[in-house]
Amino acid sequence: MKLTLKLTAAASALALIAGAAQAETLRLLTWGGYAPDAVIDAFEAETGIEVEVTLSNNEDMISKLRATGGAGFDLAQPSQDRILGPQMEFGIYKPLDQSKLDKALWVGDLYDASIKSTTVDGQAYGVAHIWGSSGFAMDRSRGEGIKTWVDLCKPEYAGRISMRLKRTALLGMSFGLGDDPFAAYDDPVKYEELMKKAAAKLAECKPNVKAYWSGSDDLLAMMRSGEVIAAEAWDATGFKLYGEDTKFNFVAPETGALGWIDTFALPAKGEADDAAYAWINFVMRPEIAAQIIEASGAFSASKGSDELVSPVMKAAYQEAFTPDVIANIKWFPPVPAGLEDIEGRLLDEVAAK
């Protein structure tokens, strides 16, 4: 009896230690470049909290969290438009406690916009971190004829363009055809019609595609070797290429670059909320945010961080984003549940053409 008691006591003591040790770790599910080693080291030195990074993308984040019902990670970084739908379908996040955020660190507009677009049943689930846009990464010396999405299908670029066969390509093509798919988000019938039209154009355009890229390294290799002239891409990829050779840059389509904001969101069964809030407030400091901008090539919602970035990055940004271009950015609205099923079916059909 005594032995059993002792064992139980020992076991519970161990469990306590294990629990305490776990609380000192922040398991972060994020994108490449959003948590550079230098930033992690500085955070650990300041708070003593260890950070475990898992690199991911929007779909993968949702899949991972769905598989565990929101366990396994303490902080995730989905795009703001991809929170509403998955939250309604799978309930994988917990509401943010805005009182724990140091709101003064944010650019006010981005903070409010992200809170607004991630609100489900009166509770906000995400707050802005990094923003950027999708348009073309382009070799500008050879791609002067490409102004809008439909120009990618011009015969003179046969075999010389690339894109990611995901929803951005579908939406971009829809804008290129003169439609406004974002306005049809609330009308599934109309939306399906627009997407069918865009998918038909993508299928028609397929002979022009060298290969659909899946990771930015794929795309960088095709752009550097000259095999691809222009590609649907994130601005960060264009800026990165600009740093290597200024003939490359990000070019916004005339119909407007498609703007996204990646957020911080707390997984439903995260175990280290305090560490998560500490990390959020830490990386939003302008000097830390500037390091993340350099590593990721995208911009931060941290106020004042844009003044601290390197001259090359600034030059690339200023060439790509003139005031007109910025004013014309089409921000991804929250995706209602169900729309992605429509897109998925159509994308599969394009892939099989």
Binding site: E59, D60, I62, E340, D341
Partner: protein
């Protein structure tokens, strides 16, 4: 229970746990999932709609057919290339030469599949080695794209699965008594009749074992068709991945998984039936 039976059970336990936990239970879970129809967010009904979606789709059955056909061709090509190699290693080469040849077959497996595929991408791409060589030799005037087509997929798959055809072939051909081949010639046979009437029938279990493994490996491959096939590299496993990971449609993905399982079982059964072999006779040896 006697001690020896207990030992047997203990030795058997890890295998049993493996099969139960990693094969049987996940499959049951998958089956249940595949019979769940999504009606609205967080609302589900039970039924066969996912399977019906597969059958009525214009895309998915075609991809499955393509995948099976490609895997069969891969198996045939692997056999045609692998059989002479296996025969040479088993019957002609001797001593160190034999060991060296066998090692050569193993060599590509010293690196992981992804490295092998990237190697092929460097060779086949438009600005790659092969295209560069052809231009240097003035065979072509401009760069040629060898990547992102069905032939590239085939090269990758054959390269990856060659070893799995050669090893079972060597082990069966090795057991063939040389006297039988000599007797064949003594009785008036020539190279062709000896090969088709003695060697191949004798090696049939090995041929089937190799074919089944190669077929299954090709059918279940994901990396090679996706990376080498590019925009036209439709593969059924990639569809399953898509449904699970990028579409969050686990229900349809599970149905696809079961359809693939049933299809591959059918094809293997058919192959065994046509060749007059049994599973225990081929893989069980």
């Amino acid at each position: 229970m006697t001690a020896s039976r207990l030992t047997l059970w203990l030795l058997f336990a890890p295998f049993l746990a493996w099969v139960l936990l990693l094969v049987v239970i996940p499959h049951i879970d998958l089956l249940i999932l595949s019979l769940r129809e999504k009606v609205a967010p967080r609302v589900y009904e039970t039924g066969f709609r996912n399977y019906a979606d597969f059958i009525t789709s214009s895309v998915y059955p075609w991809t499955l057919f393509r995948t099976v056909a490609f895997s069969l061709v891969t198996t045939a090509v692997t056999f045609v290339i692998g059989f002479p190699v296996a025969f040479y290693i088993a019957k002609v080469a001797r001593g160190r030469r034999r060991a060296a040849l066998f090692l050569l077959c193993l060599l590509p497996f010293w690196v992981s599949e992804i490295v092998r595929v990237f190697g092929w991408m460097m060779i086949l791409r438009e600005t790659g080695l092969l295209s560069g060589f052809l231009q240097w030799a003035h065979v072509t005037s401009g760069p040629v794209e060898f990547l992102y087509n069905d032939a590239a997929i085939m090269i990758g798959l054959v390269y990856t699965s060659m070893l799995f055809m050669i090893v079972p072939l060597i082990s069966t051909i090795d057991g063939l008594d040389d006297a039988l081949i000599e007797a064949g010639y003594d009785l008036g046979g020539n190279g062709v009749t000896v090969m088709t009437r003695i060697v191949i029938p004798y090696a049939m279990p090995g041929i089937m074992a190799g074919s089944i493994v190669v077929f299954m490996l090709s059918l279940g491959n994901y990396l090679t068709p996706t990376l080498l096939g590019g925009k036209n590299g439709q593969w059924f496993t990639a569809q399953i991945y898509n449904q699970f990971i990028t579409r969050f449609n686990w229900e349809l993905g599970s149905a696809f998984g079961f359809i693939l399982l049933i299809t591959s079982t059918l094809v293997v059964w058919l192959l065994l039936r046509l060749s007059g072999q049994s599973l225990s006779n081929t893989l069980g040896r």
